[in-house]
């Protein structure tokens, strides 16, 4: 049976079997790679950075999946690993930026503008710039809800924050981005 057709629980069973571990892992990557990639890419903007973070995420998954308790959905756990890895990466970027003050390219807004396809008149690019105005955690909340349409209940497990706080954060984020787009 092709592993790509298996459910998350079945994939976990296959992963815990040393004989099928690698095949199961490959199937998990193929199943979630795009979702995780775009989740990271929206945060870090640059493809190479997103690829680096994604590789780190997958290594963590390989090492940690054996002990995954299945008290949440697999994709919830994957998102949590990816989010934490992303925040760590951004923190490291900030530290590097503070050391090298002349490096203006480290700004995510500049990275967006530096994209070869960037067009400041198009709404989708303005949206990306507007998203970058948000603080990191609020940015994550907005993207999980806006792009991935993740239920608040799942999001609260990913971000370990109450549903009420997430709703408030998302609503504020929408207002801020809308104002940004209208004013630019």
């Amino acid at each position: 049976m092709a592993l790509t057709t298996l459910s998350d629980s079945e994939l976990l069973v296959e992963f815990r079997n040393p004989v099928t571990k690698e095949r199961a892992f490959t199937s998990i990557i193929k199943k979630y790679q795009e979702k995780l990639y775009w989740h990271l890419r929206r945060m870090v903007v640059d493809h190479d950075d997103a690829n680096d973070v994604l590789q780190n995420v997958m290594i963590r998954v390989w090492n940690g999946l054996e002990n995954f308790r299945e008290d949440s959905q697999l994709y919830t756990w994957l998102y949590r690993v990816a989010t934490n890895e992303c925040l760590t990466f951004l923190e490291q970027q900030k530290k590097r930026a503070s050391v090298s003050l002349s490096d203006v390219e480290s700004g995510l807004e500049n990275k967006i503008k530096a994209d070869r396809d960037f067009d400041g008149n198009k709404l989708e690019w303005k949206l990306q710039l507007g998203i970058q105005q948000l603080p990191e955690k609020q940015r994550i909340v907005f993207q999980l809800r806006y792009y991935d349409e993740m239920p608040y209940e799942e999001m609260s497990r990913v971000l370990e924050t109450s549903e009420g706080a997430l709703k408030a954060s998302y609503h504020h984020a929408v207002k801020k981005i809308e104002d940004y787009i209208k004013n630019h």
């Binding site: 493809h47 989708e124 787009i181």
Partner: protein
Amino acid sequence: MNELADLGSDLKDHNPQNIYAVPASYFEGLADQILNRIKALETTDAKEELTYLSPLLSNISKEMPYAVPAGFFQNLSDEVLKNISGHEDYQTSKEEIGSLSPLLSSLKNKNPYSVPAGYFEALGSKAEKKETKVISITRRRWYRLAVAAVVIGILVITGLLFINRNNKVTIAKNPGKWIEKNVVDKVNKDKIDEFVTLANDDNNEKVDDQSEAAKKAEIKELMKDVPEKEIEAFLNDAVALESNTDIDGSMNE
């Protein structure tokens, strides 16, 4: 204003003015905005929520404007596995023991212990046949009473020790009482009286000696200017007077 005048405040001369600016048409849209916010909070559907919060955002395409290198997703899983297996720390348990000790690795599957033939098959059936006598210890009355007695005894002893510890008189806490308890109570009262009397006598003697010495010193001081011949003459007169008194005394008897 009348109130301000009554208070004698200078504010009565100021015209109340609002210095803060409000965005244009803020109040016209406020009721709808709040109502939409409430609807957004009540719905669970993300798309519906966004239409209430921001019709503008809900109409923007969600397609990402970023480009992705060709074939990136097709090759990703192979890349990841290559990175994991190529990592210097990556090893299966077999490879690990092989790298640490080839000798131990070669001995891994060689079990030196032997097991009697049919042992495991017989083990299951023995366990089924054997009837174990179950003795309920909780039903024995004497056992329960003994346990209760031991527990009560421990509690009583602990309580007594605790009380005694609090009442214990130590020399540091209460020296007077300690001496009374450990010294005075153990000694005979008569002996104490005797000691006290002796002590007083000793003190009196010491006092007499001391006063005698003081007197001698005083006399010496007084007599230091009196010539010796006069003192001898006085003493001779005194002796003569004494002897005369003795004769008179004896004659009167």
